[in-house]
Symmetry: C2
Subunit: 365 residues, 2 copies
Amino acid sequence: MAFEVIYTDTRTKARLGRLTTTHGVVETPMFMVVGTQGTVKGLEPRDLLETRSQVVLGNTYHLMLRPGREIIAAAGGLHRFMGWDGPILTDSGGFQVFSLAKLRKITDKGCVFNSHIDGHEFTLGPAESMEMQRVIGSDIAMVFDECLPFPCPEDRAIKSVEQTLKWAKASKDAPHAQGQQVFGIVQGGVYDQLRRKCAEGLVDIGFDGYAVGGVSVGEPENFMYQAVDASVPYLPEDKPRYVMGLGVMHQMAECVARGVDMFDCVIPTRVARHGTAITRRGNVAIKAAKWAFDQGPVEEGCSCYCCRNFSRSYVRHLLNAGEILGMRLLTIHNVWRLNEFMAEMRTAIAGGYFADWKEQIKETT
Amino acid sequence: MAFEVIYTDTRTKARLGRLTTTHGVVETPMFMVVGTQGTVKGLEPRDLLETRSQVVLGNTYHLMLRPGREIIAAAGGLHRFMGWDGPILTDSGGFQVFSLAKLRKITDKGCVFNSHIDGHEFTLGPAESMEMQRVIGSDIAMVFDECLPFPCPEDRAIKSVEQTLKWAKASKDAPHAQGQQVFGIVQGGVYDQLRRKCAEGLVDIGFDGYAVGGVSVGEPENFMYQAVDASVPYLPEDKPRYVMGLGVMHQMAECVARGVDMFDCVIPTRVARHGTAITRRGNVAIKAAKWAFDQGPVEEGCSCYCCRNFSRSYVRHLLNAGEILGMRLLTIHNVWRLNEFMAEMRTAIAGGYFADWKEQIKETT
C-alpha cells in the first residue's frame, strides 16, 4: 500500500499519513520544496536533508528545456543527475506552458509553444509530459492538465475540464517509470459542480493520488478553500491529496483541516533570495537598517543552521553586499521553517489538539 | 614561539613550518583563501573546514566600507561576525586604495580616497588601517604600504619605498588587538637594491613575519621570482615569509623553493564563479559543450565534496542555467584543490623529494 492513513483527527478532517515511494517513506501532512532546474536554488542534497526536506519537486517544463531529456537520460534520471536520493515529485509542465511560455496552439494532443529561454518550438501534451517524467524517473508524476486563470468564465472552465479529463486519461495510459505513482489533478476553477465532475471523472480513471489544481493563482483566500471544499469530498479517503502551489503556513493548516496531505510552493526559496525570512511571527525583511547591529538570530528560538550560527547583522550585511551566502542562509532558514511547521502540525494532529493549534497559529502566520 | 621551522629541504630553500596564532596552529607552506566582504564567496565556515582551509584572508578596505567598523565592533570582531573560529589574516587596504578606489591624495599620514561603492570620502593610512584591523581582531595584521604598479620608474619606486618604510614603522607603533601578529611588506618593484633596502629596513623595525608585495601585478613570471630572490635572503630565517596575491600552483612551488611559506589569491574563488575548474592538469572550462553528457567528476581522482557527488554534466547544467549552486560547487572544488596541492607539497618536502616533485608538476599546473 503506497499510502496509509495512520490517524484521523476527531474535530477536523486532518489526518496523519505515510506515503511510500521508490526513494523512501514520507510523513504527511508535508511541504515539498521546489527544485525548478534540477536544484533547490543555492542548496545541495545534504542541505535538503539538514533542513528536513522530505520530497523535492522538479519542474518538467524547465528540465525539458534545459538541460533537456537526453542529458537527464544520460545521467540515469534526475535523482542521479542532482545527487538527491530521496523522493522526487514532478509537475507536468502544464502550468508553465500557460504562464511562462509563448503558447501557440492547444489541441487534444497538447500544446505547441515557444521556449521562454530561446524561443525554440516545443510540443507538450500528455504523451510528451509523461515521457519526460518517465525519463526524469520521479517517484510521483502529475498528469498533464490545463491550469485555469482566475477569474475564468464558466463556459471556458467547462471546456477546460473536458480537456483536462481527456489529458488525464492519456497521461494514465502512457508508459511510466518503474514504481512511478501518477496523480490526477482536479480543475474547475471556482465552479463547485465542475470541481465535483472533474474529481469524479479522475476517480473513475483511477490514480495513486489526487491534487487540487488551479488554486493559489491570485484568487481571494476564500475561493481557494471553496475549491478545496468542492473537490476533497469526492476523492478517495485512502489516497493522498495535494494542493498545488500553496506554501503559506496558516493556509496549509486550513487545507489540512479539510483533509489535504501535501503542498508545494516556491515562496520560501524565492523570498529568501529577496532578503525575506519566513518566521512564526510573520515575514521579516532582513535587509532593513534596524537589524544593522542586531546580534540575535534571524528567528529567535529557531534551530536551523543559519540561526544557530549567524546574526541578523551578518546576514543583513551579506544581503546588502550582494553576497550569495546571504541568499543561501535565508533559503536554508525558510525551508527549515516550513518543514518544522509541518512537523509541528503533525505533532498537533497526533496529540489531538490540531484544531486549537490551528486557531492559535492563524494570527501570526 | 609563534613560528617554528620544523624541517628545511636539503636541495632547495623549501621549509616546513608551524605558525601559531590566537585561533589555531597553521601548517606551512600554505595557501590562504580570500574572504573579501566577510565571506569566502558562496562558502560558509563549515565549507572552509571541509575544504581544509587553514586561514581566511579578510580585506580591510572592503570591510571598512561595508559593513564598516562599528558593525564589526558590535559583533566583537570578524571571527564572531562571520562565524569562523580559525585564523584570519587581514591585508592593510593599501592595495585596494590604489587599485579600486578613486585616490585623492597621499601624505605621510595615508591616503584620502572616495569609496568605489558610493563615493563616500575615507582616509586610510597606517593609523586607520591598524585601528580597523584591531577592531576586526585578525590573528595577523599587515602594515599599510604602497603597492607599486608594473612597470614603475626607479625614482618613483625609491620614493615609494621610503613612504612604505615610514608607514611600516607607524603601523608597528599603532595599537593592536591582543595576540595580533604584525607582518611587514617588502616593496621595491623590480629593483633589487631597493628590495634589499626595504627588507633590511623592515627587519630593523622588527615584525612577526614578512611579506613580499608588489608581485603578481601583471609582471612577467621571471620578474616575480626576481623580486622574491631579491627580498627573501634579507629576511630572518625564523619568521614566516608570505608572497601576496599569488595562487598559481607551479608559481607557489617555485616560491616555496625560494623559502616562502604563505600565499593568498582570489583566483580559485573568482574563476569558479566564471565556470572554471582548477585541476592538476590545468584549468577546465566546465561550461563547454563537450561536457554536456559527461558523467565523470569535475576532476578525476579528486576527493572534494563536488567531485564525490556530482558530474561534469550536472555542474555544467547548473552554470549554464545561472544556478548559484554551480558557482558554489566549483568554488568548493577549487579551494580544496589548492589546499590539497599545498598538503601534497608539504608531504614532498617532508619526504625529501620536493625538488623532483616541483619539476614534475611544472608541466601541468
